[in-house]
């Protein structure tokens, strides 16, 4: 009997032991380490299985949810990461970093308002946690609630605990409130708190100087902005700082330098911002095909998480993209007017291009206005009235009656805060009212550091005067001026290049034939080259038609040949002129 009991006991034990072992399974640390090992080897299926097993077996443990969330986040799968971080917060409500993770993911998903709610609760629960406060302040800035953010951080800093991160965020919040003095003071305070020569301190200083540079530029202090950006670059070689430098140079109409800075920024840029700026610059200088190619590169950036760390929202970025495409298509549709139309097929092609490109310009303008309206409503909801007014001005350029109302509000608001902005407002008012006198006043007021704004206003003035049928003597000097500084801007407006031509060599009758050909060609291509001299014209085209030595030269104002070519023997005059014209339009001497 005893043997029987022993046998029975042993059998039961033998059956239960493995079962109990299986029930217990590997512990949580073992499962997590197994998952992490698989993750390191990029065996994601195994890693996922291990994390999911861990979540099933230890439903109250926070680590599996957190680690799984991080795995998804590392793979840019933010929608999948979100529920994991939400679970992690539920499982461990006393860990502020979990709430920070959750807020970050929400922001990656362009759900900034929800992120603000998460961090507001976190700030109530952990009022001394500076990381939570800084992130909340930053999100207040992104959701246009700058005054609320400034109050929050001021209240904390009033306790006398110095914190450089909070100082920097406060500076940003004050810049959003257009409070120059406060913003500058807090940026400088933040810089003063990062004095070490460590990597972290230098990185921090670089960001602060960069922010300060943006502030100075927005208040038209170009020299100070330039100083700040050079300080930023001295602290650390960051792509964002190169970008800011490029923008500064572009504003000052230093196109080549700006392009160089953007290219430098693009080398280490993990965002599409440098490519965007490059595309806009190429567009501005009339290299539209290059600009389109750059714009297509921007489309390759599919991960929007970079937006979290920059002072833009997704709506603002999409608005900027719509603006870029609008400008490029509009310029293309205008520049096509300069295409020679010597045959019926050329006329047909011109018409097709004109209609389709104008349609795309119109389409992107509508998209742009739509985004501006959205941004306006977001800003109004966040209590940032000036931002909303600014967006409504841009959205209503076709409704001057509405746009002028908001422009007036903005002008009143900025008059005392930022007096240097008056030229910009005048120019904008001139465009909306189609009043050349306002544009003339604006052009006179623009400081030299705002070369791009000035030259754009000049190009707009030319278009306006031409459209109003003003005498050529009024606008032709402006054409020469724009051509010398940024000739691409003229082609972008469909304004012909001011080049006079001289025909020499050959017989008188041959010269006469060439002049007739030039006149005919000029009419068809809206080219302004005329067989007579004109005072103040910057470039001269010389056609040497001596038999056997037919060639052409383009001379600049100083008489230096900047471009030359050969006229093929037996080539038709129209074809030769078209070749020359296309060469000049490409402006190879500029590149």
């Amino acid at each position: 009997m005893k043997t029987y009991r022993f046998l029975l006991f042993s059998t039961v034990l033998l059956v239960l032991l493995p079962l109990s072992g299986r029930a217990l399974g590997p512990g949580l640390p073992a499962l997590l380490s197994q998952a992490k090992e698989a993750q390191t080897l990029q065996n994601y299926q195994t890693a996922l299985q291990a994390y999911l097993n861990a979540r099933r077996q230890f439903p109250n443990a926070v680590e599996p949810a957190l680690e799984l969330g991080k795995l998804y986040q590392s793979q840019k799968l933010y929608q999948l990461a979100l529920p994991q971080f939400q679970d992690a917060v539920k499982l461990s409500p006393l860990r502020p970093e979990l709430r920070l993770n959750l807020a970050q993911i929400l922001s990656y998903l362009d759900r900034n308002q929800e992120a603000v709610q998460v961090l507001t609760k976190a700030a109530q629960k952990f009022p001394q946690n500076t990381e939570v406060l800084q992130n909340l302040g930053w999100l207040y800035y992104k959701t246009q609630q700058c005054s609320r953010g400034a109050q929050l951080l001021e209240a904390f800093l009033a306790k006398g605990i110095p914190n450089r991160n909070l100082e920097m965020t406060l500076g940003t919040l004050y810049s959003g409130l257009d409070d120059y003095q406060q913003s500058r003071q807090h940026y400088l305070q933040a810089i003063a708190l990062a004095t070490q020569n460590t990597l972290a301190d230098r990185h921090f200083r670089s960001i602060c100087w960069y922010n300060l540079s943006l502030l100075e530029k927005s208040f038209h202090h170009y020299a100070l902005s330039s100083q700040a950006i050079h300080q930023s670059l001295a602290a650390e070689d960051r792509s964002a700082s190169w970008l800011a430098l490029g923008e500064l140079q572009q504003a000052q109409l230093e196109i080549a330098k700006a392009a160089e800075s953007y290219q430098r920024a693009a080398k280490s840029d993990e965002t599409p911002l440098s490519t965007y700026d490059l595309a806009a610059l190429e567009g501005l200088s009339g290299h539209l095909e290059l600009a389109f190619a750059s714009a297509r590169q921007i489309e390759n950036f599919k991960d929007d998480s970079w937006i979290y760390n920059f002072g833009v929202t997704k709506a603002q970025f999409l608005r900027d993209m719509a603006k870029l495409y609008r400008d490029l298509w509009r310029d293309k549709a205008r520049a096509v007017d300069l295409t020679p139309r010597l045959t019926w097929s050329a006329w047909g092609l011109w018409l097709i291009h004109k209609i389709t490109w104008s349609w795309w310009a119109w389409y992107w303008n509508q998209q742009y206005q739509q985004w501006e309206l959205k941004i306006a409503s977001q800003a109004a909801a966040g209590g940032n009235a000036p931002e909303a007014w600014s967006a409504l001005v841009k959205a209503n350029t076709e409704q001057p009656i509405v746009a002028l109302k908001y422009l007036h509000q903005l002008k009143l608001y900025e008059a005392e805060k930022n007096p240097a902005s008056q030229a910009l407002y005048l120019a904008q008012e001139g465009r909306l009212k189609k009043d050349p006198s306002l544009l003339v006043k604006a052009i006179q007021l623009f400081p030299t550091d705002e070369g791009t704004e000035k030259i754009t206003a000049e190009a707009d003035l030319i278009s306006l005067l031409k459209a109003q049928g003003a005498s050529q003597s009024l606008w032709y000097p402006l054409v020469n001026r724009v051509f010398q500084k940024l000739p691409g801007l003229l082609t972008n407006r469909g304004i012909a290049l001011p080049v006079v031509d001289i025909v020499y060599g050959g017989s008188a009758s041959e010269q006469q034939l060439w002049r007739h050909a030039i006149t005919d060609f000029s009419e068809s291509a809206q080219w302004d080259a005329r067989p007579y001299d004109r005072p103040g014209v910057a470039y001269t085209l010389g056609l040497d038609i001596r038999p056997g030595e037919e060639h052409w030269n383009l001379y600049d104002g100083k008489g230096k040949s900047v471009l030359q070519g050969v006229i093929q023997r037996g080539q038709k005059k129209e074809t030769a002129l078209e070749d020359i014209y296309q060469n000049i339009l490409r402006r190879p001497w500029e590149q």
């Binding site: 990029q42 933010y78 599919k302 109302k405």
Partner: protein
């Protein structure tokens, strides 16, 4: 009725155009605007054309006037109303053309019925413009292309309905040949359109993929095209653990060759049968002697835009496990494949002299059409190479370094391959694969062409990799004794001078995420092997079920047609066995039904007197009276009624479209409601 049908097309076109401009257009307000224009146009049918046009322009101008006047009195205070002007102006601008155009078309069609065909033609042009180049159209509007096709069918039906009109009776000797001619013309047109579509799609699929009923699959026969373009449509996702590497996902191996056809599938040779994914697991045996230097790799495939039965795998598969389907799946099929993949083999096969193929197969794999110029070229390329590997490497190297990649190799006057190898020296992957396979064959080294996809390891997320149509690729496989078929990719990465290659944008993480999360949520398991091998009809039935998930609306339509045809058969059967009296009564019922459906009489009410609207009605009414009440009613009398009915039934007086529609969709009732008294 016709006037109601006429409104369908303008509304359909406007609504879809507005959907296409979803960010800026409001489909509802634009469609309503067009509806107003249509009815205004119809109401002005008695006016002159210029009056109508002026009124339409006037109404549209009035909209603008109201808008502009409102702006003049626009409040000076700031408020949410300031958001409206931009939105309203945009809708007004967008409404302009459709308002005037569709309003005027409505007028023209009502005033002059002969204009109706021209109006249909215009609609067809608009429809073409609407669908022109709408790559993501179905994704925007419909969950599946079939819905798009169905909505289009409804549109076309409405358009056809407008054109149906009563014409005078035509004898069968006239309408039958005419119908046949129309059918033949229609079929010819359809055939040419399909061919054109297929060719265009093959070109846009990189020359390798060809469409099969709205999805792609590889062609089992590849030719050299003069031009191809690249489509970045997502074809499938595959999942593989481990560090990301470039993979060659094989669909077919093509070993048959003739100079006229190019390379084609030869299913009689081992490993080359057209492989389909069934519903049960399947194992493939790799010859044990070919098993050297291979590692096992497991992959899961999730097909999106590919024929669901397509089997893709690595070289060479050993196990195929279909994965269980889940509800509302985006994927048309999913399966797991375990393959044994050659790894680090080149140094091991360096000295291998033999292919390991049986002598019976060697002739097949070395057939190069006996083109002597190929052999001459191959000999110049291989120089003093001795082993098959050295020869393959030399040819691969020559192709990679002396030729250029081009999507536009240009039209050839004779043999495109000869032109590629000797003259232009530029082509796309198929040219390179053709060339290498044939050059190798010409010097006695067996080879075959493989087609499938190459993959981009940089695009992986969580072990999932997207594969797009533009990644379709062709390469070469060469057998080595003990190691099996080893892949070689001779396609160069040197772009032909003057040509640019556009790298398409990567698939967005958002799009990938929705697909990945669907797979993770479903967590599909492999289908277990059945105890007994499935019968062919079982597989067929499961395939039908799978296809039905997407094609059920079409299936429903087919069912209705089948049931109707069955009923018609039944009617004929009943007719055959019926007495002369019953036959005449049944004929009369059918006449009444056709009279109702042909629109000659209201659908619901058929009063006794109304049957006399046609001479046939009067005749049949009197015949039915005789059949019911005469003491004798003969077969001859019944037959006479039948002939008369067939000569002049209301259906015979309809257009061909109406006749087909009635025959296919409206069941004939042998018994049913019909008037008992006739006069």
């Amino acid at each position: 009725m016709r006037n109601w049908l006429r409104v369908v097309a303008p509304l359909y076109l406007t609504f879809h155009a507005a959907l296409g401009l979803s960010n800026i257009a409001d489909p509802v307000s634009l469609t309503l605007g067009v509806l107003v224009a249509h009815f205004v146009g119809q109401k002005l049918a008695r006016q002159k054309a210029w009056v109508t046009l002026s009124i339409l322009l006037g109404i549209y101008g009035a909209f603008w006037g109201i808008f502009k006047i409102t702006l003049l009195f626009w409040p000076q205070s700031l408020g949410s109303w300031d958001y409206w002007p931009t939105l309203v102006q945009r809708q007004l601008l967008l409404l302009g053309l459709p308002f005037v155009l569709f309003g005027f078309l409505a007028y023209a069609g009502r005033t002059k019925p002969q204009f109706l065909p021209a109006e249909r033609l215009l609609h067809a042009v608009f429809l073409g413009l609407l669908f022109w180049g709408q790559g993501g159209y179905k994704i925007l509007f419909y969950p599946h292309p079939l819905w798009e096709a169905l909505s289009l069918c409804l549109f076309l039906l409405a358009e056809a309905g407008v054109l149906w009109k009563k014409t005078r009776v035509q004898p069968a000797s006239v309408w039958l040949p005419a119908t046949l001619v129309v059918f033949a013309l229609g079929l010819g047109l359809l055939w040419s359109v399909l061919n054109r579509y297929e060719e265009a799609s093959t070109v846009s699929g990189g020359g390798l993929l060809k469409p099969q009923a709205l999805q792609f699959d590889f062609s089992p026969l590849i030719r050299l095209e003069s031009r191809i373009s690249l489509d970045d449509k997502l074809i499938l996702l595959y999942r593989e653990d481990g560090p990301p590497v470039t993979r060659y996902l094989r669909r077919f191996v093509l070993s048959g060759y003739s100079p006229q056809k190019g390379f084609y599938l030869s299913p009689q040779y081992p490993g080359e049968a057209p492989q389909q994914v069934g519903q049960t697991p399947e194992t493939f045996s790799l010859r044990p002697e070919d098993d050297k230097a291979r590692v096992e790799v497991q992959q899961e495939y999730f097909l999106v835009n590919l024929d669901p039965s397509s089997f893709l795998c690595l070289n060479d598969p050993t196990l195929l496990q279909p994965l269980k389907r889940w509800n509302q799946s985006t994927f048309v099929n999913a399966y797991r494949v375990v393959s044994k993949v050659p790894t680090d083999v080149l140094w091991q096969i360096d000295s291998v002299q033999h292919s390991g193929l049986p002598s019976s197969e060697k002739a097949h794999y070395t057939n190069y059409g006996q083109q002597s110029w190929l052999k001459t070229l191959a000999l110049s390329m291989i120089g003093d190479s001795q082993t098959p590997l050295e020869k393959a490497a030399a040819i691969e190297e020559s192709l990679k370094t002396q030729y250029w990649y081009s999507l536009n190799p240009g039209p050839s006057e004779g043999d495109p391959l000869k032109q590629f190898l000797l003259t232009t020296k530029k082509g796309y992957c198929t040219y390179f694969a053709f060339a290498m396979a044939l050059l190798l064959r010409s010097v006695g080294v067996p080879s075959r062409v493989a087609v499938g996809f190459y993959t981009n390891p940089d695009e992986g997320l969580l072990g999932f990799y997207p594969v797009r149509a533009m990644q379709a690729h062709a390469w070469v496989e060469v057998p080595f004794q003990g190691f099996g078929w080893i892949p070689f990719d001779p396609t160069t990465d040197r772009l032909a001078p003057g040509e640019t290659f556009r790298n398409p944008p990567q698939i967005s993480p958002q799009q990938m995420e929705s697909l990945i999360s669907e797979v993770l949520k479903a967590n599909p398991h492999a289908v277990a092997a059945p105890a007994k091998p499935p019968k062919p009809w079982q597989n067929f039935w499961v395939n039908v079920q799978n296809q039905a998930q997407h094609w059920w609306p079409l299936g429903l339509l087919l069912l209705v047609i089948l049931v109707n045809l069955g009923l018609r058969g039944f009617w004929r059967l009943r007719w055959h066995f019926a007495s002369p009296r019953e036959k005449t009564e049944a004929l009369f019922r059918r006449y009444c039904q056709e009279l109702r459906w042909s629109g000659r009489l209201p659908l619901k009410s058929l009063l006794p007197d109304q049957v006399h609207v046609t001479p046939l009605g009067s005749f049949l009414a009197s015949e039915v009276s005789k059949a019911r009440y005469a003491p004798q009613y003969t077969t001859e009398q019944s037959q006479q009624a039948w002939f008369r009915f067939h000569e002049s039934s209301p259906v015979r007086r309809q257009d061909l479209g109406a006749k087909i529609l009635l025959t296919l969709l409206i069941p004939p009732w042998f018994h049913g409601k019909f008037p008992r008294r006739f006069s």
